[in-house]
């Protein structure tokens, strides 16, 4: 079946611009996670949804980061007023009830210039 998809795959933004990154999870997966991966590092947790409820946003680095999943399927991660330190790969993962394992999408590489 289809895996997790993300779009766009690459995004270049000027500092100060807003960006929106999309994630389509595996059909039927109620759990959805966002991670940020800086160069040379492992992915770091940003936020977690169970269906449409955002149950954990403890990893969001600032109030410029906002995520939503209004209908419990597709999710959008929005970054307002992007800064250079936001440059990273943003990974989305989904899992079935029970939580593990998580299946990852290909990621969106964000470059802020």
């Amino acid at each position: 079946g289809a895996g997790v998809s993300q779009s766009p795959r690459y995004k270049v933004a000027k500092r100060g611009q807003d960006v929106a990154l999309r994630c389509d999870p595996i059909s039927g997966h109620v759990s959805l996670f966002w991670y940020q991966q800086a160069l040379g590092q492992g992915p770091e947790f940003l936020t977690y949804f169970q269906n449409e409820a955002q149950l954990d946003k403890s990893g969001l680095p600032s109030d410029r980061f906002f995520a939503e999943r209004p209908e419990g399927s597709v999710s959008t991660l929005k970054i307002q007023r992007t800064q250079q330190e936001d440059s990273a790969v943003y990974l989305c993962a989904s899992s079935s009830p029970g939580g593990q394992p998580q299946y990852f999408g290909p990621g969106t590489r964000l470059t802020v210039t």
């Binding site: 759990s31 492992g42 992915p43 149950l55 954990d56 939580g99 593990q100 290909p106």
Partner: protein
Amino acid sequence: DQQVKQNSPSLSVQEGRISILNCDYTNSMFDYFLWYKKYPAEGPTFLISISSIKDKNEDGRFTVFLNKSAKHLSLHIVPSQPGDSAVYFCAASRIGQGGSEKLVFGKGTKLTVNP
């Protein structure tokens, strides 16, 4: 403070030999561990996992060993193949938190299998 550590940034082995990738963790509340493989420009791909109630899990060429007292796990790949060349991430989680079962990752080990 890093809760999951992969102290070897890279590892090189000959095709057909065993690859052993190591991972240490500090948080004793972790009770589920996973290994992911990552190729460039792709997302991490799930390989194998182990629950803290076990000390070994095997899937084909891949075996994960867990030593809870030492807070150490390892991934064995036998025999290693050139297609195994990738970055391997160790990840840990707490099952049944009643909420987020977020993964905590190490920094990864780049495995190169030479023909």
